[in-house]
């Protein structure tokens, strides 16, 4: 099925690229969504079945794949809305849809690949397709964002490749040349520590460009800012999850080797710095989209803290990354409507959003509560569990620092959101604002509802999948 899926998706992408007819275009997109949903269902029913030698949907893969499928439907819907409000040329629209299909396909494939080199190939493909989306507006600034993104991602992909080479050095010593994750985990205790250390450092640094942690987070911020909102929603949710998959699968290998506590320290430093950087920028950023992007950096830092803390932290980290994807993508979808009303992303130009678009304002308010992990948000549960595991594993000083930083983040986030929602906008002409149909916010409500449901009352199947995903980690 994976083979059919990849072939089908790439065919659809090619057809979208050459097609100029609007109706046929929509049909192709719907066809892709049907294929995506069918593929997800098939993979769910055939867990851990190896296909084409390099793909098998394990528990983590299927959880994130389902997340992606859930987000991809509103992403396509909002893309449609976005493109119909602008007068883009047919060629640009074709490139946009085609790149989006490739992006979603590449991310799906990298989730379920069981071989580190195959994951790497699809990560490379996401850089390519994401850059086409970022450059959609074809102006100076989007060019700048695209250039930075492509360049930083190219370097980080090279770093990941060097890491894979180091891994292959150590595997030769262990008497195998199979780079699949299953073999890596089995061989983990006997791997050469020098090479494994280098490999982990390089692969971790490389994937931070996608996951959005210090040191390589910078390019992602510009990319999410300059990409159209629906594409930004994908970049700050499912694409970040892909970086997480890359790091997590290698972390499982390292955790089974004598380097476990060393790797924890590396991740801890990176995560703390990420939360710190996010705090600094959140307090001074004036662009709402960039603020959301920095908030993602903060959440990824928290997720990695969960991984470091271990115990119940592993469970909470995976729960957090799934729920964060839903919250952040719904905020980005809503951002598209804000931009259509105010024609600006700057906090200085917006205000009194309740008056112009009540439904959208409710989404924004809820999204703010959810993203800052206040109850009833599911993120509250996962963040609470992560803090508890930090406490239990004697990282009390980390916990105190993170709590202080999070307080500042909530203040900065709230300051900007309340300005957007309640303070009147200065010098804003109310005459020609666009009326937004409340139905466009339905998908955001559904996504936020899912966050509550999965966080407060997770179905048994969901819990057991997460437990299955972390079963190879030492408890």
């Amino acid at each position: 099925m994976t083979g059919y899926y990849l072939a089908g998706a790439f065919t659809i992408s090619a057809l979208l690229f050459f097609n100029r007819n609007r109706l046929f275009n929509d049909l192709l997109v719907i066809g892709f969504l049907v294929l995506q949903i069918g593929f997800t269902v098939y993979e769910y029913l055939h867990l851990n079945k190896i296909e084409l030698g390099y793909f098998s949907a394990d528990a983590l893969g299927i959880l994130l794949l389902t997340t992606l499928t859930v987000i991809s439907v509103p992403a396509m819907y909002h893309s449609h809305k976005y493109l119909s409000t602008k007068n883009d040329s047919a060629r640009n629209i074709a490139i946009y849809y085609s790149a989006m299909v490739v992006l979603l396909t590449a991310i799906s494939a990298s989730y379920i690949s069981n071989h580190i080199a195959v994951t790497w190939i699809f990560v490379e493909l996401t850089t390519l397709s994401a850059s086409a989306l970022i450059y959609h507006r074809r102006n100076n600034r989007s060019l700048e964002g695209t250039w930075k993104y492509v360049f930083v991602c190219a370097i980080s992909i090279t770093l990941v490749f060097i890491g894979i080479l180091f891994l292959s050095f150590t595997l030769q010593q262990a008497g195998t040349d199979d780079l699949s994750f299953a073999v890596l985990i089995k061989k983990a205790p006997v791997l050469n520590l020098f090479w494994l250390r280098l490999a982990f450092i390089f692969i971790f640094t490389g994937f931070t460009a996608k996951l959005g942690l210090v040191p390589m987070y910078t390019a992602g911020i510009d990319a999410k800012d300059k990409a159209p909102s629906p594409a930004g929603a994908l970049l700050s949710s499912v694409l970040m999850n892909m970086g997480f998959v890359g790091i997590f699968r290698l972390y499982v290998v390292v955790a089974n080797s004598p380097l476990h506590s060393w790797a924890d320290h590396v991740i801890l430093i990176s995560a703390l710095l990420s939360i710190f950087v996010a705090t600094v920028y959140m307090t001074k950023v004036k662009n709402i989209k960039r603020m959301f992007a920095y908030s993602s950096i903060e959440h990824m830092g928290i997720v990695m803290l969960g991984i470091v803390a271990g115990g119940v932290g592993f469970y909470a980290a995976i729960l957090h990354i799934i729920l964060h994807a839903f919250v952040k993508s719904s905020l980005f979808f809503q951002m598209g409507q804000i931009y259509r009303i105010y024609k600006s992303k700057s906090i200085y130009d917006v205000g009194n959003y309740f008056k112009y678009n009540t439904t959208g304002a409710v989404v924004m308010l809820l999204g703010f509560f959810f993203a800052t992990a206040m109850p009833p948000s599911g993120l509250f549960i996962s963040e609470f569990l992560i803090f508890r595991s930090l406490f239990e594993s004697n990282y009390l000083w980390v916990l105190i620092i993170v709590m202080l930083l999070l307080t500042m983040i909530i203040w900065a986030f709230g300051k900007n959101i309340f300005k957007l929602l309640f303070s009147p906008a200065v010098g804003f002409n109310e005459d020609q604002i666009e009326k937004i149909n409340p139905a466009e916010s339905v998908s955001q409500f559904i996504l936020l509802g899912l966050v509550v449901y999965l966080g407060l009352n997770p179905p048994q199947e969901f819990v057991s999948l997460i437990q299955e995903a972390i079963k190879n980690l030492p408890h």
Partner: protein, 209 residues
């Protein structure tokens, strides 16, 4: 013989540190491509002929001829001034690159592995860091791309170290090479030249907080 070629390759890195003009950079890149061809030709004797031909063609045609020609074309087309415009004086660059090489040398002593020859490791890692150094200390977008191509050459050397046992990784490395070069050079340097008048990183400082 391989060792001699690898040492010449390392010396070319030092030359890169003191080179003034962009055309010299291009010549060095082309020269490095030829050396990589030589190393691949001598070392890879256990892989099948088609794969070997592919790798050799990639190094000689792509690295030694096509990319330098294309860089030349891009420079002429966008009228890029010929000076590399480093932030630091060349003498300091020379010292830093030398210390990079010495540091990787010392690091390589930690390798307790008889299968991987240390010289590959030293040359590859020092090439990697030299490339990064070139990127951060030069002002033009095109020198950033050249720095990236130098990093790619380092990766190629590293993958040659396992080339006989894992040809798949070599092929992946080539995939990376082609992807990055075509993508970075072909689309972006051209596009940036069209949109921005002067191809300088200072033009790309609008996105910030």
């Amino acid at each position: 013989m391989t060792n001699v070629l690898l040492i010449i390759f390392t010396i070319s890195l030092l030359y890169l540190g003191i080179a003034h003009r962009l055309f010299t950079y291009i010549k060095i890149l082309s020269f490095q491509g030829v050396i990589l061809f030589g190393i691949a030709f001598i070392e890879l004797n256990h892989i099948n002929a088609i794969n070997l031909a592919f790798i050799l063609l990639e190094s000689i045609i792509f690295k030694a001829i096509a990319i330098p020609l294309f860089l030349n074309h891009v420079m002429k087309r966008n009228r890029i001034t010929r000076d590399a415009e480093p932030f630091l004086p060349n003498f300091i660059s020379l010292i830093i690159i030398t210390s990079i090489i010495i540091a990787t040398f010392i690091l390589s002593n930690a390798i307790a592995d008889s299968r991987i020859s240390k010289i590959y490791f030293v040359v590859a890692i020092s090439t990697l860091f030299t490339g990064l150094y070139i990127i951060v200390t030069r002002n033009k977008i095109i020198t950033h791309v050249m720095g990236y191509l130098i990093i790619e050459n380092g990766v190629f050397i590293l993958s040659l170290a396992v080339g006989n046992e894992m040809p798949m990784l070599l092929n992946l490395g080539i995939l990376l090479d082609i992807f990055a070069s075509v993508f970075l050079l072909g689309i972006f340097v051209n596009k940036i030249g069209d949109v921005l008048k002067d191809v300088d990183v200072d033009q790309l400082k609008n996105l910030k907080d």
